[in-house]
Every structure is written in C-alpha cells, then in structure tokens.
C-alpha cells in the first residue's frame, strides 16, 4: 500500500490531474447535502462523505480522499481545521509542493 502513503495537497484546479489518486485538500464547507458536501478549495469541490465525517458549515476541513472520475472526492479521513485558516497560505503550500516535488511527493506523482 505504499502508493497511498503520499497524499499530495491540491486545490480545485489540479483535480483532473489526480483522478483515481488519493489526495489531500483543505477547503471551507459551503454546502451540506446529506451524503455529500461542497467545499471551496480555490473552486468548488464535491466531496462524498463517509460515516465518520461530521462536516460543519463554514468550517475548514482537511480531507484525505480519492478523486473520482467525475472529479468528486470520496472521503477517507477528514479533520476539522476550524474557521481561522489563512487560505492563501494553503495555496502557497500547494504551489510550493508542486514546484519542489523532491521534498514532498516524489517525481512520479
């Protein structure tokens, strides 16, 4: 299962490059629709919740999940990051991790 060890951090615009891969996203919950939710992560992302996910409107959540064919993300694990999150910093992290792959996600990712 070494494939799942690294979970690249991405924002909405990278989704299509990561279909069928496990990724990490940090976004603000904008809509709750039962089994699904929409988070804003540089753009809306639909996430398919698991039983343990207890999303809260307007909270930032970090989601580890798999990108589906339709660019939804199936949640494996989620963490409540609260409301006080500097999203610009997260975008900077995503940029840094994609420019500096050698220390983050290897060359193969």
């Amino acid at each position: 299962m070494s494939v799942t060890e690294a979970t690249p951090r991405i924002t909405a615009q990278y989704l299509e490059n990561y279909t069928h891969q496990t990724v990490r996203i940090l976004g603000k919950v904008t809509q709750l629709r039962g089994e699904q939710a929409v988070v804003d992560c540089g753009g809306p992302i639909t996430v398919i919740l698991n039983r343990e996910a207890h999303f809260i409107q307007n909270h930032f959540f970090e989601v580890v999940g798999k990108v589906q064919q339709d660019l939804g993300v199936r949640v494996f694990a989620s963490t409540d990051f609260g409301t006080d999150i500097d999203f610009k910093a997260y975008e900077a992290v995503v940029n840094a991790t994609h420019q500096c792959k050698e220390i983050f996600y290897g060359d193969s990712a």
Binding site: E5, T7, P8, G82, A96, C100, I103, F104
Partner: protein, 275 residues
C-alpha cells in the same frame, strides 16, 4: 547521581569546549544523548524543519554517520504531522506520523519517574490518533528503516501551523540547495538587468546590488581572476580593470567594510570571502 562520572567523561572528550556545562546538559538531557563518541558533533547541531519524505530520503554515508538531508548533516529535525497510530509499550510510546508526504515512526521514551505524573495530568491536550502535532527529535537509522527519537511532541493548536511548517521546510530546503533567495539580495540584478552579475554566484549576505559600480567591478574581478589564496594586490586589480588607483582604493574599502573581501599579506592585497 552519576554526575561525577559524566562530568569527568565529558572533560576528556570535550577538551577546551567547556566540558562541565556540556556535561551537565548531557547528564540531564534526554535518552538521546549518546554515551560517548559523538560529543564533537554538538557544536554543529542544527534544528531543521523538514517533511517526512525528507526524513525517509535522508542519506547515511556510512553506518553510524550522521544522517544527511540535501548533503547537510541534520541531526535534529522538527516536523508537523498527523498521528495515525499510537502504540504504548513498556519503555516507549511509538507514534506513527503522517504529513501527506509519507509516514514515519516516532519513539518517545517513557521516563519512569515522571511517567505517572504525566498520565495523571489531564490538563495537557492528549496526543491521540488523528490529531496534528509538532515533533522535535533526532533522526535514527535502523538498517534501511528510519525513525525519529523524539524529545518533545506538542499538539497543534492553530491549524495554520501545518501550512506554515510546510512552507518553512521548503524555504530551508531551497536555502540549502540553491542559496539565499533573490529577494534577499538588495536591489538585485533584475533592476540593473545585469544577468552576468547575478550569475557571478556570490551567495553571501548583502549581494552585489547595493555596491557602487567600482566596488562591484572589483568584486567581480576578484571572483573571476585566477589567484593564489593571497588574493590580488590593488595595483594588479587597477591594471586589470583599467581603473584609477583611488577608485580601486575606495571600492576596496567598501568591500572590506561589507565583509565581502579581506586583506591578506598586506593592507592592499585582497581576497574575496567565499562562503
């Protein structure tokens, strides 16, 4: 108390380095303190922000050597990750940390004396699964496996620290592999459009941008002309650059004041400070 023994031990291996103080620290220090042999490393100790992938990729030139990241010895590291698994054993607690770039085991030895007190202290936030925490520790290699012997683990209170740490690790990595950022070199080459100067490769603080044109030319001359470690005499520089002696003198003074060159055999012979 084995203080007497320790102090004695350090004096022999530390020499002039102030063995008594060091010995005291070692004595109280964590279980990580090596019993001997590595004391001479302490002067070079660094604490570096890293990603877990960097720990897993750390190179060990030969067994028992310090682990290296980006070719630099990195004895102590700090990182932020999510606890995936906690396993409490008789002598240590092993945490499995995941920061998205990989997973690594972190061992924290249980201090038998302090142990009970800690367990009773409920006011401390608990290090349970799925919480984010910052780890300080020393990288350990066991065959090809890596783990971290930790001195301290603290839960993350503000989640921005996760992002902050990743950016910090990137800065540290880029600083070591590529030198200081362009923006840290005042009024960099981009303003003058002088690409050659940027490529001159002066990687120290300050940079060439803030210097007068004379000083800059002298510095470039000193960096490019082949020379012995005595450097070049100002007459030689003046001749090579077709410059007035007075200008060379002024430029040289400026560079000396900046600490970018130093005098060698006499006051008028200069060598560039290469970092």
């Amino acid at each position: 108390m084995d203080y007497g023994y320790s102090a004695q031990y350090s004096t022999t291996s530390y020499g002039a380095q102030g063995g008594a103080g060091g010995g005291g620290f070692l004595n109280q220090g964590s279980q990580e303190s090596p019993a001997g042999g590595k004391q001479n490393q302490y002067g070079k100790d660094t604490l570096r922000p890293v990603t877990i992938k960097q720990i897993l990729d750390a190179q060990q030139p030969h067994p028992d050597a310090e682990l290296k990241i980006d070719g630099t010895e990195a004895s102590h590291v700090t990182f932020v990750g999510q606890i995936r698994n906690v396993s409490t054993q008789a002598t240590n607690i092993t945490y499995k940390f995941d920061d998205g770039t990989g997973t690594v085991e972190v061992k924290q030895w249980i201090d038998a004396d302090a142990g009970n007190a800690m367990e009773m202290d409920d006011s401390k936030p608990k290090l349970v699964e799925n919480t984010y925490a910052r780890v300080w520790g020393r990288m350990k290699a066991f065959n090809t496996r890596r783990h971290v012997g930790s001195h301290a683990i603290r839960p993350i209170a503000n989640m921005n620290e996760v992002q902050c740490h990743l950016l910090e690790a990137t800065v540290a990595h880029l600083h070591i592999t590529r030198g200081p950022p362009e923006s840290a070199r005042p009024q960099g080459a981009t303003i003058n459009g002088d690409v050659a100067q940027r490529n001159a490769g002066y990687a120290g603080t300050g940079g060439l941008g803030s210097l007068s044109p004379h000083a800059r030319r002298i510095m470039q001359c000193l960096q490019t002309v082949e020379q012995s470690n005595e450097g070049l005499h100002m007459h030689d520089i003046a001749q090579r650059l077709q410059m007035d002696m007075a200008d060379v003198g002024k430029g040289g003074d400026e560079l000396l004041a900046q600490g970018m060159i130093y005098t060698t055999v006499d006051d008028n012979t200069w060598a560039p400070l290469i970092l």
